[in-house]
């Protein structure tokens, strides 16, 4: 029997394995379009930042708080951000520090929104033009970054943060980073 003749079959079966793995992942909610962040392991990008409420400049030390923090990119035009907002309020009550970046939005609308829906954010950065978002590799709202005590980015989650996402994906990392400090 000629062994060479089995080669096409073997290659085909290899492909099938790759496909099965991917289909299983997709069936479990994996999104083929989700992008991992290019900034993992890097500090928050240095940029001129202004506070949303008081219009005063903010320095990069706001990200270095000696404990893990979340950075949440949100906007009033984003329906999913509205959906995740309640959960963010709960997380804030649990003493999770969240810094907000108001992405490509109008400040007055944003301020009004936070007044009406409660403000879970310790600080809110005004990113009207989206320049900070671009530096962060943001491609849609909402997105949430997990930073360690030194302001280094460890993970970026694209999508709304809810109970399931927090307990399964973000909290384990958050706790690990808290332990390290």
């Amino acid at each position: 029997m000629n062994k060479k003749l089995f080669l096409p079959l073997i290659i085909f079966l290899g492909l099938v394995i790759a496909f099965v793995v991917q289909l299983q992942r997709n069936a479990q909610g994996d999104d083929p379009k989700a992008l991992e962040s290019a900034l993992v392991g890097k500090p928050m990008p240095l940029r001129q930042m202004t506070d949303l409420f008081e219009n005063k400049p903010l320095g990069s030390e706001i990200f270095q708080q000696g404990k893990p923090i979340l950075v949440n990119v949100w906007a009033t035009w984003c329906p999913t951000c509205y959906a995740e907002h309640q959960y963010l309020n709960e997380l804030a009550k649990q003493n999770v520090t969240i810094i907000g970046i108001n992405y490509k939005d109008q400040s007055d609308k944003a301020i009004k929104w936070l007044k009406n829906l409660n403000n879970p954010y310790q600080i809110v950065i005004n990113d009207e033009k989206g320049a900070l978002g671009l530096d962060l590799g943001v491609y849609g709202a909402p997105e949430t970054f997990v930073l360690d005590g030194n302001g280094v980015i460890h993970y970026r989650y694209a999508g709304d943060v809810n109970e399931k996402v927090w307990t399964q994906t973000l909290k384990p990392l958050y706790d690990k980073l808290a332990g390290e400090n």
Binding site: L5, F6, P8, L9, F19, V20, L23, N26, A27
Partner: protein, 652 residues
């Protein structure tokens, strides 16, 4: 009621296909003549029942039956009739039904045009095609049934067909493509039948050749139409994006081209039999793979049908059965295939083998480029994108030697030859190629780029050597003009197809390197100069349609003082789907296209306009048409109609 009839017809088709798969094949194995004789009538029956199903779906769309979910999702009462009907294949379920219907159409065609084939062969081939149908029918009936009702609720009207698909090109593009994909199942069936019996004489190559050619012609036309459609409809002047779904159509085409040439060798010389069988399996497997990639959601593509992973798993299971099964059969029975190959290192056989190697290399490039991002991400190495820069570069590298071989190949004799026989003409052609390669772009466009020079050289060498070969063949025994009339149709077919390749290469070289795109802000009366053409903006007027509201811009184009064209570019807002579409205006010509697309109003009376100058872009598709014409000429060659000659002789 009609929808239920359609559903019943589908179930009936499944039953018939099961019998078609089992009985004739069993009959062929056991030599049972009655069972084998069932193959043809059952194939016709399958075709008829599936036609009823297909007809029922057409009817539902034509009368706006919104109790059928599929009609609701894809049609709307404001849609003009022709788009209501073509919406049948606008989404997953209907296009699958089209696929299966065409499968039975090809089956019926094989059944009726195979009178000269031995009964056993016919029984096996039709039985295998029945086997293929079973999987698809199961898939449609259990996961993607187009006849699902919306009861108990009954929408008043449907969603609209995506405005992008409301176009004449999109009426014909899927049917042509599917005719090609499905057509390769015939060559596949012939190969599997041969593997089953272990008898692979050159007769099966002769039988499968016209069927493979027909499928290849349809696929070529389908790809050309899709590319041309994208160019004029999408408004960005592009004609190929290396999108996974486009690649899924290119791969079977490359395999099919290799298969055609390999079949030629097998038929004429009895050589390469194992390769031909493998290529036939490969070509159809790639068609099925394409179906999987498009409908499973596994790759990110603009073309992908809305999908879910369970459907994907089902199709994958089907692929494992069909492709895995056929490759296993090949692995076990492949060494029983005996080829008679006594050709030498320098011979036409070697040339064709090299040709096939290059085609397979191109195929591997496309396959790798399409699937590597998936595997890369799975291995945790991160997300990468592979697109035009990679593919263009690799194809340029592969096409260069390919063009030279394409020109030389027909000049080499079968079995054994010496290069010295053609050394002089080849050397002369190469010198001319170099001169024209630099000269023509310089003359026509006044500047040189690497890929333009290479492209022109490729086109020139093909043309020169093809014409030389034509001359040699024509003057073989008599004068040139007499000789021309004596050439067979398949020879003319080869010339046409090869010249088509040269045309396409020329078109690609020029339009990729020398196109000019300007996005400009223009007020009424402003003009912009691109190359020799002056584009003058004359203003925007209102232009509404049956299901859209829009505006029309007029741009006049002048060369010097003479008016070349008046173009009307539109922008439409479709009221139901709330999508904005641009209808670009193109002044097409043999040597260049001038293209205008209308953008937004910028306030203060000025508008954003996109203006393009694209030299020789039409040649890309004309080349494709020539290739298809070449195929048609080959297919209609006298030797495939020798039954007519036999009949004439017996009547004498």
């Amino acid at each position: 009621m009609i929808a239920e009839l359609g559903n019943y017809a589908l179930a009936l088709s499944l039953a018939v296909s099961v019998f078609l798969a089992i009985l004739p094949l069993w009959g062929a194995e056991r030599g049972n003549v009655q069972f084998m004789a069932l193959a043809r009538p059952m194939t016709y029956g399958l075709f008829l029942s599936l036609s009823v199903a297909f007809g029922a779906l057409f009817y539902a769309f034509a009368v706006n039956d919104f109790s059928v979910q599929y009609v609701v999702n894809n049609s709307n009462s404001n849609l003009p009739l022709q788009y209501r009907l073509s919406a049948v294949w606008g989404a997953h379920e209907g296009s699958l039904l089209l696929w299966i219907w065409m499968l039975t159409l090809w089956g019926a065609a094989v059944a009726s045009f195979s009178k000269r084939l031995p009964q056993e062969a016919v029984a096996r081939v039709l039985g295998i095609m029945g086997l293929i149908s079973i999987g698809f029918l199961l898939f449609v009936l259990f996961t993607s049934n187009p006849f699902t009702r919306t009861f108990p609720d009954f929408p008043v009207d449907g969603r609209e067909l995506n405005p992008l698909l409301q176009d004449v090109g999109l009426i014909f593009h899927p049917p042509l493509l599917y005719m090609g994909y499905v057509g390769f199942s015939v060559a596949f069936a012939f190969s599997i039948a041969s593997l089953m019996t272990g008898k692979l004489d050159t007769a099966w190559a002769r039988w499968s050749r016209p069927w493979t050619m027909a499928a290849w012609i349809f696929l070529t036309l389908g790809i050309v139409l899709g590319s041309w459609w994208a160019y004029y409809e999408l408004g960005w002047g592009g004609w190929w994006f290396w999108d996974p779904v486009e690649n899924a159509s290119l791969m079977p085409w490359l395999a099919g081209t290799a298969l055609l040439h390999s079949l030629a060798v097998t038929e004429k010389r009895g050589a390469f039999k194992a390769w031909t069988v493998l290529l036939a399996i490969l070509a159809f497997s790639l068609c099925l793979l394409g179906t999987f990639l498009v409908r499973s959601g596994i790759l990110v593509s603009v073309h992908a049908f809305a999908s879910d992973p369970t459907r994907g798993l089902y199709i994958l299971a089907y692929l494992v059965v069909v492709i895995g099964g056929s490759l296993t059969l090949y692995a076990f029975k492949g060494n029983r295939i005996r080829s008679r190959d006594n050709s030498e290192r320098y011979s036409r056989e070697s040339m064709l083998l090299l040709n096939n190697i290059l085609l397979m290399t191109a195929l591997s490039v496309v396959l790798l480029g399409t699937l590597l991002p998936l595997v890369h991400k799975q291995l945790g190495l991160g997300t990468i994108s592979i697109g035009a820069p990679f593919f263009d570069q690799m194809f340029l590298i592969i096409c260069t030697p390919f063009a030279l071989l394409l020109g030389i190949g027909p000049l080499v004799k079968w079995r054994r030859d010496q290069f010295s026989a053609i050394r002089t003409p080849v050397v002369v052609s190469v010198i001319l190629m170099a001169l024209l390669g630099f000269g023509l772009p310089l003359l026509l466009q006044h500047k040189l780029t690497v890929s333009a020079v290479l492209g022109v050289m490729m086109a020139v060498i093909i043309v020169l050597l093809s014409l030389y070969e034509l001359h040699q063949r024509a003057t073989h025994r008599c004068g040139f003009w007499t000789g021309l009339t004596k050439l067979s149709r398949s020879h003319w077919g080869m010339i046409a197809a090869h010249l088509g390749v040269a045309m396409t290469i020329w078109g690609v070289a020029f339009s990729q390197n020398y196109s000019v795109e300007r996005d400009v802000r223009m007020k009424v009366g402003d003009s912009v100069q691109i190359e020799d053409y002056r584009f003058e903006f004359k203003g925007v007027t209102e232009a509404n349609g049956p299901n859209y509201a829009g505006g029309k811009a007029q741009v006049d184009i002048f060369v010097g003082d003479k008016q070349e064209a008046a173009l009307f570019a539109e922008k439409r807002f479709y009221t139901v789907s709330k999508m904005t579409m641009t209808e670009a205006a193109i002044d097409w010509g043999f040597t260049r296209d001038l293209y205008v697309a209308l953008g937004e109003s910028l306030g203060d009376g000025s508008w954003a306009l996109r203006l393009y100058y694209k030299p020789f872009v039409r040649w890309i598709w004309f080349g494709g048409l020539f290739m298809a014409l070449g195929g048609l000429l080959c297919m209609s060659d006298r030797r495939y109609r020798f039954s007519k000659i036999v009949k004439e002789k017996t009547n004498e």
